[in-house]
Amino acid sequence: MSKSDLAVKASSLRKEYTIDGLRIEALRSLELEIKEGEFVSIYGSSGAGKTTLLNIIGGLDKPTDGQIIVLGHDLSEYDEDFLATFRCAYVGYVFQLYNLISTLTVLENVMFPMQLAGWQEKRIMERCTELLELVGLTHRSDHFPAQLSGGELQRTAFARALANNPPLILADEPTANLDLETGLKIIRILEGLKGEKTVIVATHDERIIDLSERVLNLEDGRIVSNGF
């Protein structure tokens, strides 16, 4: 595999938290390579380190030790300002608890990353229309998050993640809080991304695992199996 084809490369990746003097090792000497355009699922028990790994790949957190290179950028070397610019341009993040900005409407939430990236107003509106149609929420564009159902919140989160057309999509348990039917809508959106973008999903949902090209099994901060 050519190095330039790699979307994510982690070497000896370690993450440690200290809570009230107690050291918790979330990731232990983790080695990982994910190709560009690959659809990868990460599964593992609660506390295995899935969210920590996604946060480090997404530039939300920094590793304690080791190296993490995402889309050619060594994230362990950059400061907060650069990481913010990196996240805005390269990463679309879908959180388990949706994490929409409560003071903004659906439309404004989707607009937000594009406004941060400095897009023209006209282009923003065109892209928003396209994304809200894709997730089927055109009729809810003026509603606030508090007025939406769980499925609608998650679909809005997907629209927002895709806003800047980032090459890397990270999704943390995107169907965990949804019923079967609503979960299926989310899976369809993910299916649409397959082949177009690098997608990394932390999940327990068999339907998403079936969709994946590769599955990483994470246990106690280590990858115990890597393949299908």
Partner: protein, 618 residues
């Protein structure tokens, strides 16, 4: 419920506990200090003095003190209860959990009330100690720099009253806030969508066309409507207080200095026999040195100044005005009088009593006086042989309505035509036509001469005057020296009072910090999400600064004009402000508003310094 649980809880939230306690302590300290220091300066707080006809220097200070004390008390109590409400609002989910597990509302109420009581008592005790210490230091400082102030024994009742006032008002308002908060249903308090102190739908009206920062900032303010309104109320009160302190304080200082300058006169010299000159200087200095003047026989023939010498001195180049006087000590007797009843048509009421006052009487030629000290009524004319002007202290102590009353002196009745501010004998002085007063003492001549000289040739003129009086028993005293001492005294007095008003700035800062902490609590998740999506720390800071700015601007629009109105309406007649002070005043108010806006961003700095992952997790 014992106090140990609330104490532990307060200790765990140290910064908020300290902030709320200090805020209350500052207000109590300011109030205690103003009252005690005011008493030491002889300007006892008395509502009765406000609105009287006479306006003396002590009244200016006492009015300033009174208004600042009232506003400070209101602001202190409002801000403290607001901070208590913030502390309670932040615990809304805990309240939900306590209720959900079966805790009775009474117990929740007792828990928060115990916290309120602990904060209130600690704040009031600290404030009382600070206030008493500040008073002692100020009095010692005034004495150390040469102005004698006889420290009065601590008025325990005043201190207790301030303590009780603050403790009870803080409890009443604080308990009201607690009751409002703990009424929440557990299901609402624990709901996922319920964010601290917010209402779900407000803020929808704010258009999307506003810039991203302002839109988010305004919507966040609108969502915490209740706290935002309370915050604006508190800040408006504090800004009113600060405008009054800064603008009113400087105006009061300059006005009182101008009163004194006009009363003594610029470039005025005194010519009198040495003992008399010393006596006059001593009478002038009673304003800041409360020692009794030596008893002397003012009418002793040795003190007389001849008409020919007066005319001789008046003809010297550089002498602008000659003001010969006859000065002596006497007693005046108040006469009651009947005036129309202001509340009823065709009815009359009696005012006044039969009070007496020992005064210094000055016989003057009304057109020749060097003073410009009239603050009420008019000067008497030369032909008004029974007209008299009285000093403001006589007016205050001896008359109900001086301009309507008359007094008797040595069997002669005098009509009061005006009231003046005069430092001679600390305002216990009357002025009447020299011809009338002279006739009371067998056509006695002058015993004092004031000369106003050209300030451009000050030194040369003094030399000429000294040459003329060289071979007499008279001496020359430059009153500019005395005037400068008076102005320095006023300067020091106001310098003691004005910086303390800055403590209201501390109040405002605490108030904003409290509010912005609450704002951050309720927005922490949103801010974390924004950062996760790529917003830089400065975007967060801009949003929070915008919120702080909006609050300060809205409060400023209310508070600054209110402060100016209070200054001019209730405070000082004939207010004076020099052009050089105006930019300082405007600059200070703007600086204070800027400091307040920026201080609100401090909690944001903390949150933006934390790693994004940690912010989201919290």
């Amino acid at each position: 419920m014992a106090f140990d649980f609330p104490i532990k809880d307060l200790m765990r939230r140290k910064s908020q506990t300290i902030m709320t306690t200090l805020n209350l302590a500052i207000c109590v300290a300011m109030t205690t200090f103003f009252i005690l220091f005011g008493e030491n300066l002889g300007a006892e707080l008395s509502a009765a003095t406000v609105g009287k006809l006479t306006v003396g220097l002590s009244i200016v200070l006492s009015r300033f003190t009174l208004i600042v004390v009232i506003l400070n008390s209101l602001a202190g109590v409002l801000v403290t209860s607001f901070l208590v409400s913030i502390m309670t609002s932040e615990r809304i989910q805990d309240i939900g959990i306590m209720k959900a597990v079966g805790c009775l509302t009474d117990m929740v109420f007792a828990f928060f009330t115990a916290e309120l009581s602990l904060i209130t008592i600690a704040g009031c005790i600290l404030g009382t100690i600070f206030g008493v210490i500040a008073n002692s230091i100020s009095v010692s400082l005034m004495n150390a720099i040469g102005f004698y102030i006889q420290p009065k024994p601590l008025n325990i009742w005043t201190i207790i009253s301030v303590f009780i006032l603050f403790a009870s008002l803080t409890h009443i308002l604080g308990i009201w806030q607690i009751i409002k908060t703990i009424r929440i249903k557990p299901v609402d308090a624990l709901s996922q969508t319920f964010t601290l102190g917010t209402t779900r739908r407000s803020g929808q009206w704010i258009p999307s066309r506003l810039g991203l920062t302002f839109k988010i900032a305004l919507r966040s303010l609108a969502r915490r409507r209740s706290q935002t309104v309370q915050m604006i109320l508190c800040l408006s009160m504090i800004i009113t207080l600060m405008t009054l302190s800064i603008f009113g304080g400087i105006v009061a200082k300059e006005t009182t200095q101008s009163y004194i300058e006009r009363a003594i006169g610029r470039s005025v010299v005194l010519i009198a026999e040495a003992e008399m000159a010393e006596q006059y200087a001593s009478l002038l200095s009673r304003f800041f040195e409360p020692k009794e003047a030596r008893p002397i026989d003012y009418l002793d023939q040795d003190y007389t100044i001849s008409d020919s010498l007066i005319s001789d001195l008046g003809s010297i180049d550089g002498v602008i005005k000659t003001d010969p006087r006859l000065i002596f000590e006497t007693i005046i007797y108040e006469y009651p009088t009947v005036v129309p009843d202001p509340e009823g048509e065709d009815r009359y009421i009696e005012i006044g009593d039969h009070r007496t006052c020992r005064v210094i009487a000055m016989g003057v030629n009304p057109n020749q006086v060097v003073n410009d000290w009239l603050i009420l009524g008019r000067k008497f004319e030369e032909i008004e042989l029974n007209g008299a002007l009285i000093g403001n202290s006589v007016a205050l102590k001896t008359f109900d309505n001086p301009l309507e009353q008359i007094f008797k002196m040595s069997d002669l009745e005098f009509n009061i035509t005006g009231v003046c501010i005069d430092p001679v004998n600390n305002g216990e002085v009357i002025y009447a036509p020299i011809s009338t007063l002279s006739s009371l003492h067998g056509e006695h001549g002058y015993n004092l001469l004031l000369l106003q000289i050209d300030s451009r040739n000050h030194a040369e003129t003094l030399i000429s005057i000294e040459a003329r009086i060289n071979d007499t028993n008279l001496v020359l005293l430059d009153l500019n020296t005395v005037l400068n001492s008076h102005i320095r005294f006023l300067d020091y007095t106001w310098s003691m009072v004005l910086p303390l008003s800055l403590s209201s700035l501390l109040n405002a800062v605490f108030c904003l910090l409290g509010y912005m902490t609450l704002a951050l609590m309720s927005q922490r998740r949103d801010l974390g999400i924004m950062r996760a999506l790529g917003a830089k720390p400065r975007t967060m800071t801009k949003i929070l600064f915008s919120q702080s700015l909006v609050l300060v601007i809205v409060s400023g629009v209310v508070g600054v004009p209110l402060g100016l109105a209070v200054t001019f309406t209730f405070f000082i007649p004939e207010a004076t402000i020099s052009q050089s002070s105006l930019p300082i005043v405007i600059g200070s108010i703007l600086l204070v508003l800027a400091v307040m806006s920026v201080s609100g961003v401090y909690p944001a700095m903390n949150i933006t310094r934390r790693p994004t992952g940690e912010t989201i997790r919290s």
